[in-house]
């Protein structure tokens, strides 16, 4: 049997987060982080403001089942959640375990039932500020024993790496979006829609050589090696939809 020390686990998970350079990889790394701490679900969301009524629009990345989010929002449970206001007012992680009566009484019965139904008796919500001053919350939930203080400390440290990764992913996406000119973006969009260079040239009143030049520029700017990768990357980065 082999054991992993806390510092080894912290270093491994922080390392995985550090190399995640896309939103998909970031979500995967977040999922592995949750699993390493015995949680089934991980979510990164914008901290709810006083005006917010629904959870879904706040979610940035989440592994939560769609049915959970739907029922949460149908029941307008965001305002009933005891942590919603604390996420704005404090940076201290909020931990809960529904088997602890002092924690359970803070949650309305309908919310408790929903959490139990989805196997989220235990969890932690960790508020943090992003690079652009946005208030975010890393949220983990699942069925496990109450978190110990050393686990909370370890998780809080790893979350700092997760935040760095999220900031880097956002910067990448932002720079990719502004990297392409309006014409290049248009040419990539038409290509994804199945148009040939000649057809795009007719649509945009350009020669097919000019269309190909725009495509070549877009390939270079988005650091791609061929048009397949360019189209796939443009879709992933939501440059075209």
């Amino acid at each position: 049997m082999s054991y992993m020390t806390t510092s080894e686990r912290q270093s491994l998970l922080s390392g995985e987060l550090a190399v995640a350079r896309t939103r998909g990889l970031f979500a995967q790394a977040l999922g592995r982080l949750a699993a390493a701490f015995g949680f089934e679900q991980a979510t990164l969301l914008n901290a709810p403001s006083v005006e917010d009524l629904l959870l879904k629009p706040l979610i940035i990345e989440s592994s939560l089942p769609a049915s959970y989010i739907r029922d949460f929002d149908r029941g307008h449970m965001l305002r009933a959640c005891p942590f919603a206001s604390k996420m704005r007012e404090s940076a201290v992680p909020q931990v809960w375990h529904l088997n602890d009566p002092s924690h359970a009484q803070a949650f309305p019965t309908v919310l408790q039932n929903l959490m139990r139904q989805h196997g989220m008796t235990a969890g932690i919500a960790m508020p943090i500020n992003s690079g652009d001053g946005q208030r975010l919350v890393f949220w983990f939930g699942g069925e496990r024993a109450p978190l110990g203080q050393s686990e909370i400390n370890e998780l809080a440290m790893i979350i700092l790496y997760a935040l760095d990764t999220y900031n880097a992913v956002k910067r990448n996406e932002g720079s990719a979006h502004s990297a392409l000119s309006a014409r290049e973006l248009e040419v990539v969009r038409w290509t994804a829609q199945g148009k040939t260079s000649i057809e795009i040239g007719q649509i945009l009143t350009l020669s097919d050589h000019t269309v190909n030049a725009y495509m070549t520029n877009a390939i270079k700017k988005l650091d791609c090696v061929n048009r397949t990768q360019l189209v796939a990357k443009a879709i992933r980065l939501k440059l075209i939809n």
Partner: protein
């Protein structure tokens, strides 16, 4: 390659079929039977996606031999699966590797159906790009179906 899969890629061993008498065509016909099962190729040089009739039907797109409108096709995929699929194509075209995934596609009835795609990288000699299959993933237990038009011996 940064994208990681929990499932190892397993090479199927070549199986002897000559003594059984089943041809490649028969094996493929049986594999594709009783479900929508289509073929596709994404051309590396143009970035265009070409697909057979069943792929169009799976994604509820009008059939054409010309390049498929990928933007429209992707819009039929569950939004939680869409980004990972785009990223898979990206990585496959960059690292020249094969892949498979199971994902959710709008069933046009207010829900989603499960679909599986398998892709493999092809070099320029055989038509550069990623070629693959896509089929509805409808493995059900305790189900029996027969072909139409059978007649007793």
């Amino acid at each position: 390659m940064p994208l990681r899969f929990e499932q190892p890629a397993i090479e199927h061993r070549q199986q002897s079929r000559a003594h059984i008498g089943i041809t490649d065509a028969e094996a493929l016909t049986m594999f594709a039977a009783y479900r929508l099962f289509g073929f596709w190729r994404m051309d590396l040089g143009t970035g265009h996606f070409f697909a057979s009739e069943d792929v169009h039907q799976i994604f509820d797109l009008p059939y054409s031999e010309g390049p498929v409108n990928l933007t429209e096709l992707m819009s039929r995929i569950h939004e939680e699966d869409r980004l990972l699929i785009a990223e898979t194509f990206e990585q496959a075209s960059l690292y020249r590797v094969g892949f498979h995934y199971v994902y959710r596609v709008d069933n046009r009835l207010g829900g989603y159906k499960m679909v599986r795609s398998v892709g493999q990288f092809r070099d320029d000699a055989s038509g550069g790009g990623i070629a693959g299959i896509t089929y509805e993933f409808v493995e059900k237990l305790h189900i029996v179906g027969f072909e139409d038009g059978g007649a007793p011996l």
